[in-house]
């Protein structure tokens, strides 16, 4: 049965309220079970030996001593895993990232794994494995990797997207170009042209729960895995493909997930746990240490970006270009392409071109991180826009409004936008009390915008009605931040019953059809859509059953406010049947009552946000502190406003951390120097103010409730907003994020030297 996904403007009773989440009690009492909280009889502990070198040939791995240690049950290296190098490169890359094959490609790259009876024994065993390395030249910086004398990391990588096709391998995996119009003509027409290069350092998602799994493979080929993941179905497909298991025989159960932000969309050590279990015929539990999470699970790209914007004196942007270099770690990725698609997405720029280079370096494989690739491009664009505004003497928000993207604007990646919310967000900023508030001495204010596509994808849900009229809803997207609550609200809304009568669970891969990974802000949009349709299917069944109970044709039964009533001539005195009445009699009217839906949730609504940021700068130390922060974002429709606000606040906090202090620091030896929460400085509670939020609701026309995704967009503006605020507070325009005290003080020094020179 196909359903119409158009927005209907229906009036809501349940949606928009702030209910208590169903998993709340479990999570405040410590009962909720996360990745590392499961155990199985006879389980072994799996640990990974990792490369201490940024780039090295693995000459020999001698495991003989370790194997002899009592309690060691299995040791694996790439020799124990399928060799996929001849086949599809993407799968081979995933496996090679999980376990080095012949070469260690970054500090932290797995070279062997051990399963032993306990953690102490496994740790000893790792020390007894003898790996002979031949250290190779390495490169970790994105710009250095493109230089002619840089070591070329893979001999099979030829830059894609070039014509003619290159004949020598390169660290540039791909060149992408997006845009439209005639940029040369546009720049020729400009009164002012601003051109700068920006750099951003590598950051990590920083979820508090390390990767963890418990894998069991039986000799008959069946297998189970309990794992913290955003995509149990994807993990199943990938692990089964990598290891040659039957997809249906591998049951993956997603645990409660302690944060993901994109980092738990890729497999890391999970295939190793399955391989160790297969070799030992025992359950194997693997939990990464924090050091391993930083060194060997995907951070986001570090970048180097040239931006050029030309504008008329009246503020109209005539042309804009981006030339961007994004490193994807040791393997090719889509990251620069995403940057090309998002960089100018907030604006209506007739002549624009975005060029992106995906670059390979000796760093861990980059994974998606909340609106992947967009924050860095936005840092460059939003910072440059403020410089344009300053040069032409225009208010920076007015400049943005003058060029803002609207319904009918062509996106950088081609299509014409439908109804979108960036103009409304900027107008809301101008009206916001924060924007009008007086600044304290030493403070400055900045505004910046952000965009993220949002996606939909394959989704299915099962809705089962119990004989007492309460409802079980099984969804296949995971609950990273209150999704079960939103889904229960949607089911309750459709069925016309109370929120408390719906219980939502995240299904394992054996209980529900394929669901795409919970990424791209798709959870509430997609599973919400499937839940609406499943509930409507269930209502049709309920009407049929009511018709039987009332002995009337089903066409005469309508569903209203959680009740079936017969309409039409002669039915006036028939009883009204509640869902509970019908459910109670289901055994005699045809058996269990359920609704199902399988859908490709297409038509995701683009997300836009505008942020206001006040910072205070200590001119003597370069320390910038965020004093006040406001997020304005279009949610389409906020199902559960608490958790929509929570997404806005969390995304903004991550963006602020990125803007101020978070960065991977590599030494000259190519090793990561700050693989821990002490020196990788994510914001602590005392670093932040309350983060004010304003939810806009501009319905997505392609969702019955008008839902857009909300999870990612608000990590995009903070880098620009913070930079613009620093400029306003301290008079320096930063070109390198994070804008740490050292960089800000350097900029202040340069500015004072320049002013002395110009004064002299």
């Amino acid at each position: 049965m196909t359903h119409d996904n158009s927005y209907t403007g229906q009036k809501f009773k349940v949606i928009g309220n702030r209910f208590k989440r169903p998993d709340g009690v479990d999570k405040v009492t410590g009962r909720a079970r996360y990745g590392a909280d499961a155990s199985a009889p006879g389980q072994l502990v799996g640990l990974v030996l990792r490369s201490p070198h940024a780039h090295a040939k693995i000459k020999k791995i001698d495991t003989s001593k370790a194997e002899k240690l009592p309690g060691v049950k299995a040791i694996i290296t790439s020799d124990d895993l399928p060799d996929l190098t001849g086949g599809a490169r993407d799968m081979a890359n995933i496996l090679e990232n999980c376990m080095a094959r012949g070469r260690a490609l970054y500090d932290g790259h797995a070279v062997a794994a051990v399963a032993a009876v306990d953690n102490q024994t496994a740790r000893k065993a790792l020390k007894l494995i003898n790996v002979s390395y031949q250290v190779l030249p390495h490169v970790t910086d994105v710009d250095e990797a493109l230089k002619e004398d840089a070591p070329v990391i893979h001999d099979w990588v030829y830059t894609g997207g070039l014509d003619p096709k290159p004949t020598t391998p390169s660290n540039a995996a791909n060149r992408t170009q997006m845009g439209h119009g005639d940029v040369d003509a546009g720049f020729a027409a400009a009164d002012v042209i601003v051109e700068h290069t920006y750099k951003t350092e590598q950051t990590h998602q920083g979820y508090i729960e390390p990767h963890a799994c418990l894998a069991t493979v039986s000799p008959d080929g069946s297998a189970e895995m309990w794992v913290t993941t955003q995509g149990p179905f994807t993990y199943r497909t990938v692990c089964a493909t990598l290891l040659g298991l039957d997809i249906a025989k591998l049951k993956v159960t997603s645990s409660e997930i302690g944060g993901g932000f994109g980092g738990k969309t890729h497999v890391w050590m999970e295939p190793l746990a399955l391989a160790l279990s297969r070799k030992t015929n025992r359950p194997v539990k693997m939990v990464m240490t924090r050091d391993e999470v930083f060194r060997a699970s995907g951070p986001t790209a570090s970048t180097s970006i040239d931006v050029k914007i030309g504008a008329k004196k009246n503020g109209k942007i005539t042309a804009a270009t981006l030339e961007m270099r994004y490193q994807g770690g040791a393997f090719p990725g889509p990251w620069a392409m995403l940057a090309c698609m998002t960089g100018f997405a907030c604006y209506n720029i007739e002549n624009q071109r975005s060029v992106g280079w995906d670059v390979i370096v000796n760093r861990p494989k980059v994974a998606a991180y909340r609106a992947p690739s967009a924050p860095m491009a936005a840092f460059a664009v939003e910072s440059a826009l403020d410089i344009v505004a300053e040069r032409i003497g225009m208010d920076a928000v007015d400049l943005r409004l003058k060029n803002v993207a609207k319904e009918g604007t062509q996106a950088p990646y081609g299509p014409i936008y439908g109804p979108i919310g960036i103009e409304a967000a900027l107008k809301a900023v101008k009206k916001h009390p924060h924007y009008k508030a007086r600044l304290q001495k030493g403070q400055g204010r900045g505004v910046a915008c952000g965009f993220w596509f949002n996606i939909g994808g394959q989704t299915c849900v099962d809705l089962n009605i119990g004989t007492d009229g309460t409802v079980n809803l099984a969804v296949g997207t995971v609950d990273v931040g209150g999704a079960r609550s939103s889904m229960a609200m949607i089911a309750a809304e459709e069925l016309g019953i109370s929120y408390d009568d719906v219980r939502v669970s995240v299904a394992d891969t054996a209980s529900l059809g394929h669901n795409d990974t919970t990424e791209g802000s798709r959870g509430t949009f997609s599973s919400g859509m499937a839940t609406i349709f499943a509930a409507r299917d269930a209502i049709n069944v309920l009407r049929e059953r009511a018709a039987k109970m009332l002995d009337v044709p089903v066409e005469d039964v309508v569903w209203q406010d959680g009740e079936a009533r017969a309409t039409g001539k002669g039915h006036g005195n028939l009883p009204v049947l509640s869902l509970k009445d019908i459910a109670g009699k289901s055994a005699n009217t045809g058996g269990p009552i359920a609704g199902h839906n399988e859908v490709v949730a297409d038509g995701a609504g683009m997300g836009f946000a505008a942020h206001i940021c006040d910072v205070e700068v200590d001119n003597e130390t370069g320390l910038a502190t965020v004093a006040r922060y406001t997020v304005v974002q279009d949610a389409g429709k906020a199902i559960h406003p608490d958790y929509v606000e929570g997404q806005f606040q969390g995304a903004a906090a991550q963006g602020i951390g990125w803007a101020l202090n978070e960065e991977y620091v590599y030494g000259a030896d190519g090793r990561l120097q700050n693989a821990g929460f002490l020196d990788y400085r994510i914001p602590v509670c005392s670093d932040l103010p309350f983060i004010d939020t304003q939810i806009l609701e501009i319905p997505n026309p392609n969702h019955p409730y008008g839902i857009r995704g909300v999870g990612e967009t608000s990590i995009v503006p903070p880098l620009g907003a913070v930079n613009n605020a620093i400029a306003s507070a301290a008079g320096v325009r930063m070109k390198h994020a994070p804008m740490s005290p050292i960089r800000v003080l350097d900029a202040l020094d340069e500015a004072s030297v320049e002013s002395q020179v110009s004064a002299g």
Partner: protein
């Protein structure tokens, strides 16, 4: 092989005995030997606070205490916060204020916030923020957490007053 010792300790009011290797940290003893998996490991180096417990009333990271040090001590974990069926005001306010998203940091925050409010029933926003600085949260931006602690502090002061009045 590592030596092991028998440890007798009181955890959430119950006397518990377990044997643990001398180099094992209390976090692992609590999780793997006593089964209290509400105590979470986020870093193992005292930088995230997910493993916060109280030891003889003092807030500590259980990843930085040896299991054997718990011998004779009184340990409090998130599992001991609620009074039977009744949630602690902090637990209730964390739910009511949507102060958790993924929830992995929540047990540590609750234990730390309780330690704060036990010492200072009426903390300022700044005092709350600094007291909770040892607990990392990556989902919420701390906004709703601070508000939940403020609300719980108010609840606790009220219930203390009404108890005092009844007496």
């Amino acid at each position: 092989m590592s030596g092991a010792e028998l440890v007798t300790t009181k955890i959430n009011g119950d006397v518990v005995e377990f044997a643990c290797p001398t180099d094992e940290v209390l976090l692992d003893s609590l999780r793997d030997r006593v089964g209290l998996t509400g105590v979470k490991e986020g870093c193992g180096t005292g930088d995230c606070g997910a493993c916060s417990v109280t030891m003889d009333g003092q807030l500590v990271c259980s990843c930085l205490v040896l299991g054997v040090e718990a011998n004779g001590a009184d340990i409090g974990t998130v599992e001991g916060l609620s009074d039977g069926n009744e949630l602690h005001p902090l637990q209730q306010q964390f739910i009511d204020n949507a102060a958790l998203q993924c929830g992995i940091c929540t047990p540590g925050f609750l234990v730390s916030a309780k330690a704060l409010l036990d010492n200072n029933p009426n903390p300022t926003e700044t005092q709350i923020r600094y007291a909770l600085a040892g607990n990392l949260c990556r989902c919420t931006g701390y906004d709703k957490i601070v508000k939940a602690v403020q609300a719980a502090a108010k609840d606790m002061r009220k219930s203390k007053q009404s108890k005092a009045k009844r007496k």
